[in-house]
Every structure is written in C-alpha cells, then in structure tokens.
C-alpha cells in the first residue's frame, strides 16, 4: 500500500518559546489505515493535526501528503485530499441548518446549485442525518453535529480525514455513534484513511495502528495489542489501558484464568 502521509524530522515550537511542542517526529501512514494518536494533554497531538492541515506553518522538517510537499504553494491542492473534524461541535457548524452547513463546502468547490441537493442528501444519508436536513444546530445533540461535520468532510471527496478529539465533548452515546460511523466508513471505502486523536483507550483499541506521543516525541508505535502490552510504560506517561485489558491483567495476576474464556 502506498503512503498517503509521510512526515520526516518534523519539529515545532511557538515563536517566543524555546520548548519544543513537537520534537523531531517522523512517521508514515498508509492508504486505507485507521491510525489513532494517543498522549496526555499537552503531548502535541492537536498541534500535529493542525500542522497536517496546513493551519500552522512549520520551519523544520518535511511533510508529504499524497506525495505532495506540504507548503504554501501546494496547500490548496492538498486540502482537496485532507479534511478535519475538530473537538467543539458548535464552532465548526457554519450553516444555519444542516443543509446549509453541508452546502458550505460545496459552494466553496463551486458545485453548480442544481447539483447540490442530491449531493447534500447523499452525504447526509451516509452519516444518518437525512431526517434532520432542515434542523438548526441548536436543536441537535453534540453527536449529531459531529456527524454533520463528518458529512461535510465526506462531501468534499477527501481521502484523508483527521479527527482531532472529535468525541471529547460528547456523551457516551454520541461517542459510540461517531466511532462506529468512522469505522464503517473506512470499511466501505478502502481508499479512505482516518487519523484519530483521542483520550479514550477503548477507542484507540479499535484502530489498525496506534502512535503514542509524549512531550512532543513519538515514544511508541504499533498494533493496539502490542502497544497496550506495555501497560506500565503507558501509565508512566499519563495514559491508561482499556478497561478490558486492565481486567484481564488483574485476573491473570490473581490466577483466575478460567474467567477469560470467552470474549
């Protein structure tokens, strides 16, 4: 599988600060992967996502997205491939209604007005919001607003979607909706790559690969099973294990292996 994102020796710090937010990071993401970034508050995950979107300018390192170098000249071309869902559902809802919000991106892409309605309906249906087309944001739940944000991203024909703590402000039901929706999308479209940033270890456990950040550095990378095998290390950098693994470990340690039969 070809790489859709390649990051080489990326470092970043705020202008007037000496502390590095990101410290010499290199990684690559393959087409169709579902990769989750975990790390405690302030580990640099969100900054990394903003850099990938070209919202923050970098000084050191190179980023290639679909083999295009991320710089000012290529930015518009790159944004045709990569989109992001932010944390706060309210602050990314631009239109007056669900319809208008999905239309906003289409308008920017100069889609003809008569072609918009079928597209809007298609993408709203994909995220299960077809019945809410005329609803205003104030009458939607957080999870529904985030679903619209995902429809926005899908409607722009992207092949990489970044989820920047998109579930952090949602209740368990809303989180569950978004997590299962993103996994379903990735299964249906093998060209779709998803990068997820989260504090929820259960969410991370479901992804193809996990990249662990701590103080701006990549400290661990691999399949969820392998990453979560290093429980003590994760705890030392402020992370945790998914509940099921914590339980398994505790049961193993106490010698109740017979309880781990199923699941």
């Amino acid at each position: 599988m070809p790489n859709v994102i390649e990051v080489k020796n990326l470092s970043y710090c705020y202008d007037n600060d000496e502390k590095l937010i990101l410290d010499n990071i290199s990684f690559h993401i393959q087409k169709g992967e579902y990769v989750t970034f975990i790390g405690c508050n302030g580990s640099g995950k969100s900054t990394l996502m903003k850099i990938l979107m070209g919202l923050i300018e970098i000084k050191k390192g190179n980023i290639y997205i679909n083999n295009l170098l991320l710089n000012e000249r290529n930015l518009l071309e790159i944004r045709k491939h990569i989109g992001i869902v932010f944390q706060n559902p309210d602050n990314q809802f631009i239109g007056a209604t669900v319809k208008d919000d999905i239309a906003f991106g289409l308008e920017n892409m100069c889609i003809k007005q008569k072609d918009m309605d079928p597209l809007i309906e298609e993408y709203a249906a994909k995220v299960g919001m077809i019945e809410y087309l005329d609803k205003e944001p104030s009458s939607l739940s957080g999870g529904q607003k985030q679903r619209v944000a995902i429809a926005d991203a899908l409607s722009m024909n992207l092949d990489i979607i970044l989820l920047d703590e998109a579930t952090a402000m949602l209740d368990p039901k809303g989180r569950e909706e978004i997590v299962s929706l993103t996994h379903k999308m990735q299964k249906e479209n093998e060209n779709l790559t998803i990068l997820n940033v989260t504090h929820h270890m259960e969410e991370a456990f479901l992804s193809d690969r996990i990249i662990v950040l701590n103080k701006g550095k990549i400290v661990l990378e691999g399949k969820p099973k392998d990453v979560f095998a290093k429980g003590d290390f994760l705890k030392s950098i402020g992370l945790d294990l998914p509940f099921s693994l914590k339980m398994e470990n505790a049961l193993k340690e106490a010698g109740f292996l017979n309880l781990l039969g199923e699941k």
């Binding site: 903003k50 979107m53 919202l55 518009l76 944004r79 989109g83 992001i84 932010f86 706060n88 309210d90 602050n91 990314q92 809802f93 631009i94 239109g95 007056a96 319809k99 208008d100 239309a103 906003f104 991106g105 289409l106 308008e107 920017n108 892409m109 100069c110 889609i111 003809k112 007005q113 918009m116 205003e136 944001p137 104030s138 926005d152 722009m156």
Partner: protein, 275 residues
C-alpha cells in the same frame, strides 16, 4: 430564546412564506411609502389607514401570525405614544379648541398623535409580517442582492453578508454561553441584580471577560473550520440558497403595484369623498 424586537420567524408554508424575500422587501418599502403619503383630507387618510389595517389583518391570518404578537410589539410603544401626546398637547395650538376642566386642548394635537400612532402601528405590523415569514438568513441574502451595486465601488458586499449570516448563526450559541457563565459566576457569589455600582461593575467584568475570551476562541476555531473547508473570501464560489422569483411573486407583484398606483393617484389628484 432569541426575542428580536421585530418578531420571530414562524415556521409555516403559507403563500407569504413562499414569496421571494427580495420581493417582500420591495413590497414592504412600497407599502410603507404609501402610508406616509398625504391624502386629500383627514378622512381620506384614515380611510386608507383603515383599509391597510384590514389588509394587514388578512395577511397575518394567511401567514398564521397571531394578533397577540402585534400587541406584544406595541406594548413598549405605549409610553412613547403618551409622551408624544403630551408634547403635542403642549405645542400644537391649531384646530378646534376643546375645553376640558380648566385646560384648553386643540383638536390637531390629538389628530397628530393619532397619525403618529397609526403610522407606527402599520409600519410595525408590516415589518412583523416580513420577519415572521422570512428566515433571517434569507433576508440577509435578499439584502445582499439589493446591495449588489455597491460592489462597483469596491465594497465587499459578499463578505459583509457572510459576516451577518455567521453572526445570526452564533447569536443563540452566545446567548447560551452568557447564561452559562452568569450561572457559574452566581455560584461563586456574584450577584447580578443587586449591589453597589462598584459591585455591579465587578459582576459585569466577571461575565464580559470570560465571554470575550471564549468568543475569540470560538472565532479562531470557526476561521480554521472555514479555511479547511476551502473558504476563501476573495475566490469565486457558487450559491446554494438562491432567491427565486416564482409564480407566486408574479401574482403578488401586480397587486402591490396596483395598490401603490391607486394610493399615488389618490394623493396626486387630491381625490376626496366630495368628488
């Protein structure tokens, strides 16, 4: 939640709701002008006002607007009307003098007040019909259309329209936020209702600063969200919401024009009841 002084959009699919907002703005201006025309006699004036009022009542019925909302709109005006009446009574000394107790009141003073009151009532009623049958967003787009000529003198009308529509979108969000912060500060012992001037200032500061901070935060995030979705204020973009001049407008337009022409002719030829 949002109580605009000009009334609130009511969801319905009446004839008036379906009209092109651009046409509705045009009709509003035309009808308001006709109210301010001066007809041949006082009797003619009041007859015309009466006719307009009946028309407005019919339109409100069609658009499912409750008469009560018109009353609610007039309530704050009551004080103003009384004030105007007192001023008129003191200043106007023409017309028939009427003696009440020791005071001499001139009939023109009462008529002047009545004029002001009726014109205000009709104007408010007309704008109530407009705002109740048109979504704020559609009004914005219609205004943008009217302001189009300003583009030729390099005024970025489309950006102004985008700003207005974003402001409209975020008013409910910010009101909610204000309420939340007020409650949080009340829990920390802030009293927003009572207290000395100094205490009140503190109370307001404890509300304004967090609100300001979070609004800036919001607008930064919103700007990012717009940028990543390909918004460029200077680039060409298509439009999803398009005002359409439809058959309903075609029927309504001549009605409004004929109405206005009649009013204009009545004024111009000073047509009166004695003719």
């Amino acid at each position: 939640m949002l109580n605009s002084p000009l009334g609130k959009y009511t969801t319905s699919n009446s004839f008036l709701h379906r009209l092109d907002p651009r046409f509705k703005i045009f009709a509003l201006i035309i009808l308001m002008t006709s109210i301010f025309l001066e007809y041949a006699s006082r009797l003619m004036d009041f007859t015309y006002y009466g006719f307009m009022f009946c028309l407005i009542l019919i339109l409100m019925k069609i658009a499912h607007i409750r008469i009560k909302s018109l009353f609610n709109m007039m309530k704050p005006m009551a004080f103003m009307i009384v004030f105007i009446l007192i001023i008129n009574l003191c200043v106007v000394k023409t017309g028939n003098p009427i003696n009440i107790f020791q005071l001499t009141i001139y009939s023109d003073a009462i008529f002047n007040t009545l004029y002001t009151f009726l014109r205000l009532l009709l104007m408010l009623a007309l704008s109530l019909i407009l705002t109740s049958t048109t979504k704020p967003m559609d009004l914005t787009y219609a205004l943008e259309w009217y302001l189009h000529p300003l583009k030729f003198i390099k005024i970025p009308v489309h950006i102004i329209a985008m700003i207005i529509s974003l402001a409209l979108r975020f008013i409910p969000t910010l009101l909610e936020e204000t309420e939340k912060i007020m409650k949080a500060q009340a829990s920390r012992g802030v009293d927003f209702e009572n207290g000395s001037l100094k205490e009140k200032m503190r109370a307001i500061i404890s509300l304004i600063i967090p609100l300001f901070f979070s609004s800036i935060q919001r607008s930064l995030e919103l700007a990012d969200a717009m940028e990543v979705r390909g918004y460029d204020p200077n680039a060409k973009r298509t439009r999803y919401r398009i005002n359409r001049f439809t058959r309903v407008d075609l029927i309504a337009l001549p009605i409004v024009l004929i109405l206005f022409s009649c009013a204009f002719l009545l004024m111009y030829f000073k047509i009166n009841f004695y003719l």
